[in-house]
């Protein structure tokens, strides 16, 4: 049985509060409301959907292209939390989690190829990545906790494109390329063109991310974040890959993962580390939320970028 408890009920409670009913009565009403919510939602939280387990990539693409309002699910560690909160309510889930051929880390000379379904735990512990792209395995070790990293996939992390995520910023710093497949074949997109808006990435509804190609580099690097508690998401974070033209990218300084172009340009033009760090948010409008004001974010970014540049250049 699904009890539908709408806005009207909540409004009723607030209306009672507004006309000055006693506190006890209002608390009692809230208690009742919460109890019915728990009863209705505690067992199965997301809205109803149809579930389809894809056998291979073309099977997944066929279903994505033909089913109503379908969405890929890989590890589900971004999508399920959104569905539980009912911020996302796809009618069909296409589970690609069993396509084991999409889980690999391969040395291809100039770059390391990572299959979309590779778990963050495998990325954290991969000898190839630790040697050739150490910033990536290092950053992966900070995502959630080991149990989260067993399920969460690199493809999901990049397609989700959360501005607060740890790995999209690393992908920007290392200049990765993503390979997508849709009904009309494959295409490659630079990550510079992949993060389009708030949780919006350059992938069509009927495309599957196959692989991420991460250039090898022996340049200096640094990655750090500021948060208040060990487990928290970064309030601001930074990833830097040094070398001749350093790439600097930022976590939580815009609605997407973003490169600090003003800062990078200053470095290429011969500016000092301090001059470059001072420019880090000059072309940005950092978001405000409960954790930080816009000005505090700019301050954090300045300090984190300066330290990261000192370590990597």
């Amino acid at each position: 049985m699904f009890v539908s408890l709408g806005l009207d009920k909540i409004q009723e409670v607030f209306a009672d509060a507004a006309i000055g009913l006693g506190r006890a009565r209002i608390f009692a009403q809230f208690e009742l409301l919460m109890r019915s919510y728990r009863k209705a939602w505690s067992e199965v939280i997301p809205v109803k959907f149809e579930y389809y387990r894809a056998t291979d990539v073309s099977d997944a693409i066929d279903v994505l292209a033909s089913a109503r309002d379908a969405k890929v699910i890989a590890g589900g560690h971004s999508l399920l939390p959104l569905m539980k909160l009912r911020f996302a309510s796809p009618m069909t889930l296409v589970d690609i989690g069993r396509i084991s051929s999409l889980s690999y880390i391969l040395d291809r000379g100039e770059y390391v190829a990572i299959g979309a379904l590779t778990s963050l735990r495998d990325i954290e512990t991969s000898p190839i990545l630790k040697t050739s792209v150490p910033i990536l395995s290092y950053a992966a070790s900070f995502v959630g906790d080991p149990s989260v990293r067993h399920r969460a996939t690199i493809g999901g992390s990049v397609v989700h494109g959360d501005a607060a995520g740890d790995l999209p910023s690393v992908m920007l710093a290392v200049g990765a390329t993503v390979v997508l497949q849709g009904p009309d074949g494959k295409r490659s997109v630079s990550v510079d063109d992949f993060f389009l808006g708030f949780l919006e990435t350059n992938i069509n509804f009927d495309e599957v991310l196959l692989e991420i190609q991460v250039p090898k580099s022996d340049a200096g690097w640094a990655r750090s974040e500021f948060n208040r508690r060990a487990q928290d998401w970064a309030i601001v974070g930074v990833a830097v890959l040094g070398g001749k033209s350093p790439r600097v990218s930022l976590i939580n300084m815009a609605s997407t993962p973003i490169r600090a172009f003003a800062c990078e340009d200053a470095l290429v033009a011969g500016g000092s580390i301090k001059e470059a760090a001072d420019l880090v948010s000059s072309d940005l409008d950092p978001p405000e939320d409960l954790n930080a004001t816009s000005a505090f974010r700019s301050h954090l970014a300045n300090v984190l970028v300066r330290r990261a540049l000192e370590r990597s250049l």
Partner: protein, 158 residues
């Protein structure tokens, strides 16, 4: 077409025994374990993948079962806290050291702690204290202050 009543048949092996049931695709694995299989050792603390109370092993690796759909575990092997001890009731080394080190008070977090740390010790048999603390990030305990939990994990490591 209404989605009302769409059920799927799944078979999940829980602690070595197969359970075949028709369930809604949106049912979380933790509710399958608690309400369909009937094993209540796996706790629900936050249901938002923050607290780790619901940690179980899926195909040998720790996961937070409140953030896995039961249909995603179809055909897989799940181990819960009830499945750790041997058939004659002999507890694992880690379970014993939780007992010996007094690593629990109310015990609510304990099943999740133990499942997470059993999996961690399989991947890293001789961790440093710092590594244990880093690995415990996803498991909250509101009673012990963690010191004895860290001690228990270290004393069960090699």
């Amino acid at each position: 077409m209404s989605l009302e009543g769409i059920l799927m048949q799944v078979t999940v092996m829980v602690n070595g025994q197969n359970f075949t049931n028709d369930i809604e695709p949106r049912m979380l694995l933790v509710h399958f374990i608690r309400d369909v299989v009937g094993l209540k050792g796996t706790n629900v603390g936050c249901e938002t993948s923050s607290c780790g109370a619901c940690t179980v092993h899926v195909d040998g690796k720790s996961v937070k079962s409140c953030t896995v759909l039961a249909v995603q575990a179809d055909g897989m092997s799940v181990t819960t806290i009830e499945g750790l001890a041997s058939l004659d009731g002999e507890m694992t080394a880690l379970q014993k050291s939780f007992q010996n080190c007094h690593a629990l008070q109310c015990g609510f977090c304990t099943p999740g702690m133990i499942m997470a740390m059993e999996s961690f010790l399989l991947e890293n048999a001789s961790p440093s204290e710092a590594e244990v603390r880093h690995a415990l990030e996803g498991n909250l305990c509101r009673c012990t202050g963690y010191h004895n939990i860290v001690k228990a994990v270290l004393s069960a490591s090699t």
